[in-house]
Amino acid sequence: MFLIVFVFTFFSLAITGAVAQGVIESPNYRIQFPNLNSGAGIPSSTNFALDSTLGQTGPGQFSSAGYLVKSGFQYIHSIIPFSFAISKIAIPFGTLTPQTPATDTSTLTVSSGGAKGYQVTARENHPLQNNASDTIPDTLCDAGTCSQTAAAVWSQNTTYGFGYNMSGNDIPAAFTDATYFKQFADASSAESAQIVMSSANVGRARQSTIKYKVNVSTVQPAGTYKNIITFTATPSY
């Protein structure tokens, strides 16, 4: 039996121990090397130079007739990939009661190590809308001053609309506390996507919470209202 266990363990290790390899190729060169975590010097010749940025897939530099390519930040040796996650793919508010705000949250997570700085933007395709094209407008907040670029306090139950608040890492300074809200930028009105997270520095698992809030008046037509929020994460240049 122990022989079976040994053989099973051996194959488990063998199967799960596969190592990814990066490939850079051109009509003149094909350079294949593993994803290194340490290295020794920068290889070069009279015809080409290879500057390795360690720890990434396909990093480095090569030159050939007519072009030169560098990938990855040459001064960042981090092995953290550039990744982005949203914790929830649907925000169901359920049945709304007029003058009783409903909220829900999701978590945004960014690991930007190999990308140095980053930003995440958000934009809605249109305000919340039902099949009859009735809309729940984007909130103007209590004082009527908030927009997609300016945050303001939204705490009164007689203030209606749809908006969001941010808390956590790398969020815009405008979100002073949990009562400050903004509208989503509206693609149907040609508004530019707005930054919801950003940092100029390398970071791992930077996390923020976005709180969606909706409140309707007593005259809001019944129906199922929906829209799509698009989040875009881009590295710094």
Binding site: T9, S26, T57, L68, I86, I89
Partner: protein
């Protein structure tokens, strides 16, 4: 007989325990019920002659739920002075066909903008062929490769930046200007001395500043801090940080507490370590305001206490 049964039970327990451990250790990790995507490399810098072509592989991974993905290349402009990009992800972007023939995907199963199914945990290598036409004007062009995943009406996108310099001779002329190199004119001794460096790219090609800030105090040794070689793209200004231990970006600052006297700082750099050297100076005077205030306060307090004590003694006498 009993011993044999006990031995068999022992073996079964060991085997069961082993299988439980195996399930936890070797089976692939479970994925959360979310949208999660990653891309590598996050930036590619290409210098290419008009009419030539090159190929770059981007690895994309769907770390969330199964979904439909698509890729496209869109132009970007600088968003701010920190290196953020403003992706022009608008189908009505002026003249979208202008760059259409620059890019192609070598994998026939993937087409720009078309959706393809991507399983949870799947990694795909996207091979992007880049070929600016022969009549392309010599200058820089900036794009973002966007990888997008849709699931149940939610969309998440992640990008990788492409900085493409089109040059016939491979030696583009780079131009820069120091917009600001500043520090406080007057600073309290023992305070922190920070520097602001903003560099504008006045040319047609991006560059990385290669240089240092040298700080000469009236007393003590000269200190040198390294300017971070961040990309400064054409027609943009960037607030440039400093760099420590090769990859840690930091605020440009005098590492020690300032004492007293003049602190003369010189920022100097070249574009990509070549050509003309650009430099600017900033001078700070450090004076011990808080120390003088503290000493004065102590003397004043001592004087007042002493005076009160003398009066009490006089009254008692």
């Amino acid at each position: 007989m009993t011993k044999q049964i006990q031995n068999s039970k022992f073996k079964i327990i060991i085997l069961f325990g082993y299988l439980v451990i195996w399930l936890f250790v070797y089976l692939p990790s479970a994925y959360a019920q979310d949208l999660s995507l990653s891309i590598s490399p996050p930036i590619v810098e290409i210098m290419i002659m008009p009419g030539k072509q090159t190929e770059q592989t981007f690895s994309i991974i769907n770390e969330g739920l199964d979904g439909y993905a698509s890729v496209k290349v869109v132009p970007f402009t600088p968003e701010d002075e920190e290196g953020s990009v403003n992706v022009i992800d608008n189908p009505n972007f002026p003249d979208p066909a202008r760059y259409e023939n620059w890019f192609a995907l070598t994998d026939p199963s993937v087409k720009f903008g078309d959706k393809f199914f991507i399983k949870q945990g799947e990694k795909k290598n996207i091979k992007l062929r880049i070929s600016p036409p022969a009549d392309t004007r010599e200058k820089d062009y900036y794009f973002t490769l966007l990888y997008e995943v849709n699931n149940q009406g939610t969309t998440a996108k992640i990008g990788a930046n492409l900085l493409i310099s089109v040059s016939k001779d491979g030696k583009p002329y780079k131009k820069a200007r120091i917009v600001e190199f500043s520090a406080p004119k007057l600073i309290d001794s023992l305070g922190k001395l920070n520097y602001t460096l903003r560099i504008e790219n006045t040319g047609q090609y991006f560059f990385k500043p290669t240089g240092t800030i040298g700080i000469n105090p009236l007393f003590g040794r000269k200190e040198i801090i390294k300017i971070a070689p961040v990309n400064i793209i054409s027609a943009a200004t960037r607030r440039v940080p400093c760099i420590k231990e090769e990859e840690l970006l930091i605020q440009c600052a005098y590492d020690k507490r300032v004492l007293i006297g003049f602190y003369k700082a010189t920022a100097s750099f070249t574009t990509d370590g070549e050509g003309k050297e650009f430099f600017a100076q900033a001078t700070t005077i450090a004076l011990p305001f808080s120390i003088v205030f503290a000493i004065t306060s102590v003397f004043l307090a001592y004087f007042l206490i002493n005076k009160k004590s003398t009066r009490e003694v006089d009254l008692a006498g």
